[in-house]
């Protein structure tokens, strides 16, 4: 009896669903762009199958025409020392970039927040956004000129100050590459990332500052005791989000900044996929690397989200 009425309820609900859908057909039509998302973002996931077959380019989208290879390409990958080098570079650059961009954009936000003269504040902000809007190709051009050993301003300053005796070719030094990537990221995006912190700071209750004033607190103690603690939730959300993207360390940036002499430290996983797998048509192995990359990202995102939830009872997703 109850089973029957349950089935009936489900049937009715289903009936309702279709009726509802028909009534909202105009909204369904407006949802059609989702097909484009499927075609351009989901269908490529089909390409993951390529990693499990001896893929030949002539077979096009019909992966099953190729011989099944199982995990052959994954095993090949894990025995490939270049793959591990790529992973090491990706992780190194990723971690360094997160640390640097965090510290600097937070510092910049605090500094801008402390400015009392409005026109100066606006000018600083406008200027600091500029590099964010230029491409990495342009940025790399500027970086190469600025750090050039011929007449780059950095070398000239260091020479004048007597810190170095002869010009350093910064962009050609493998052991400096990670640092240069992190610093150029700071130069390009700190101002823009500071926006989020600044807006979080504007929502701090002004009465907190007033009572601190009465207590005779100085500017620096107010920064550390009021401003920073108040925006911890924002800091945490952004940290979790950026850890999730750890392995996608900005292909374009690394690709335009690297040069033949920095191959050893500049070949991240993504660069390796492009330079090796795509150029030499090693599609199966390249796809295996893409899958690995995606899996690590998912694990990192889920892990960080769990961690954030553990810390304060609420996740971010």
């Amino acid at each position: 009896m109850s089973v029957q009425s349950g089935a009936l309820a489900i049937a009715k609900k289903e009936h309702n669903f279709w009726r509802q859908l028909w009534r909202q057909r105009q909204l369904v039509v407006l949802s059609l762009p989702v097909l484009m998302v499927i075609v351009f973002s989901y269908v490529p996931l089909w390409g993951w199958l390529v990693a499990f077959f001896d893929y030949k380019p002539t077979s096009g989208m019909n992966v099953f025409k190729n011989d099944f290879a199982g995990f052959k390409y994954f095993i090949e990958l894990f025995n490939d020392s270049y793959f591990w080098r790529g992973l090491k570079n990706s992780l190194g650059i990723g971690v360094l970039k997160i640390i640097f961009s965090y510290v600097f954009s937070l510092m910049l936000a605090v500094m801008i927040n402390e400015v009392r003269i409005n026109w100066f504040k606006r000018t600083v902000q406008t200027i600091s956004y500029l590099p964010h809007f230029v491409s990495w190709v342009v940025a790399a051009n500027l970086v190469f000129v600025t750090l050039s050993p011929d007449s780059g301003i950095v070398n000239e300053l260091l020479l004048k100050l007597g810190i170095i005796d002869s010009p350093i070719s910064f962009m050609g030094k493998p052991n400096l590459f990670w640092l240069i990537v992190a610093l150029t990221e700071v130069w390009k995006n700190s101002g823009y990332s500071a926006i989020v912190y600044l807006s979080a700071m504007t929502s701090i209750d002004p009465s907190l500052y007033e009572s601190a004033d009465i207590d005779g607190a100085g500017r620096i103690s107010k920064i550390f005791n009021i401003t920073l603690p108040s925006i911890i939730p924002t800091i945490k959300i952004l940290l979790v989000l950026s850890i999730g993207r750890l392995l996608s360390v900005g292909f374009e940036q690394v690709y335009v900044l690297k040069s033949p002499s920095t191959t050893e430290t500049a070949t991240t996983l993504e660069v390796y996929i492009y330079d090796f797998a795509l150029k030499y048509a090693q599609y199966s192995k390249g796809s295996a690397m893409s899958i690995f990359n995606s899996l690590v990202s998912i694990v990192l995102i889920v892990g960080c989200n769990l961690l954030a939830r553990r810390m304060d009872g609420e996740g971010i997703m």
Partner: protein, 315 residues
């Protein structure tokens, strides 16, 4: 708020009065911020100076904020001596404009249906869009798929795959959710169709967010070079300005910074154009590709600051 306040009985540092501390703090802060601005702007201004300098003279270096021997030869070479660079700038502009015109209505449509709590497919559509933020096919699977679609050496590869981005849609959705729902309800009572509600009521009210996303899409289209390298490098007619710049950067770097070699390469590369080195040409091209952006973004500042904040809080 969990902020700890400085407790009353804590002795003051005594050395400085609050006023003096304020002055010192403000001075140091201002100096540091001016330094930030200098570091940010210097590379740009330096490049502008180099681009306006005579090219043989530029080889000797030592140009900082002002050209030593003024010349507009590099710009003349780029703009008039060959049609290559103006043409690729046109391709870039074309993709920026058509990409934005395509992306805005499509994203708004999705944002609109995702904001409608009464829509039966709301959560399905939202999930499909959101998932793309976290997982992507990766370089090679995507490349193989788009190639199978016939997008190689096709202008559409510039604008179709990037038309809908989950982040942009989310920002738009939070904006639409902030509009009073009564607007939609009363329009419905008046018998307006959903299309009319979206395009004649929601659209005009969403101009701030449309300006923001429009700027994002337009700038990122103008700045793209990687998809050109990946999909369209073999078709000369589809090469974008940024990709040209990338090629010139590559050729300059392979000269290992040797000024003489670069000079020789330049004069052999641009025969007849006389004494123009890659250095000043590169600078002039950089300037040309930055100027449109630098002219536009300050005016849209208040919009994108708002848009960024929305996206970060709700996303």
């Amino acid at each position: 708020m969990t902020a700890k306040l400085v407790s009353k009985d804590k002795p003051k540092l005594g050395l400085l009065s609050t006023k003096t501390e304020n002055i010192i703090f403000d001075t140091i802060n201002t100096i540091l911020l001016i330094l930030v601005c200098v570091v940010t702007l210097y590379p740009f201004l330096n490049t502008v100076a180099i681009s306006f300098n005579d090219s043989t003279d530029a080889v000797y270096g030592g140009i900082y904020l002002w050209p030593r021997v003024f010349s507009t030869k590099s710009y003349e070479t780029i703009l008039f001596k060959s049609s290559d660079i103006p043409y690729s700038a046109m391709i870039s502009a074309l993709r920026a404009i058509s990409g934005t015109l395509l992306s805005i209505p499509l994203s708004m449509m999705l944002a609109f249906v995702m904001s409608r709590k009464d829509f039966v497919l709301k959560s399905a559509v939202t999930k499909i869009v959101l998932f793309t933020m976290y997982v992507s096919g990766g370089l090679i699977p995507t490349f193989l798929t788009y190639r199978a679609y016939g997008l190689m050496n096709n202008f559409l590869v510039y604008i179709l795959p990037t038309a809908i981005s989950a982040f942009n849609v989310l920002v738009m959705r939070s904006f639409i959710e902030g509009l009073p729902y009564e607007l939609i309800e009363s329009a419905k009572i008046d018998g307006a169709s959903e299309y009319r509600i979206l395009f004649q009521i929601i659209f005009p009210l969403s101009m701030p967010v449309i300006a923001t996303i429009g700027l994002f899409v337009c700038v990122s289209q103008w700045n793209q070079w990687f998809d050109t390298m990946l999909y369209c490098s073999s078709k000369k007619g589809l090469v974008t300005l940024q990709y040209k710049l990338k090629q010139i950067l590559d050729s300059a770097n392979s000269m290992t910074g040797d000024a003489v070699a670069a000079d020789a390469a330049a004069s052999s590369a641009s025969e007849g154009s006389g004494r123009v080195t890659t250095q000043t040409i590169r600078a002039a091209m950089t300037v040309i590709s930055v100027v449109p952006i630098a002219c536009v973004y300050p005016f849209l500042q208040k919009y994108f600051v708002k848009g960024m904040t929305l996206g970060a809080v709700k996303g």
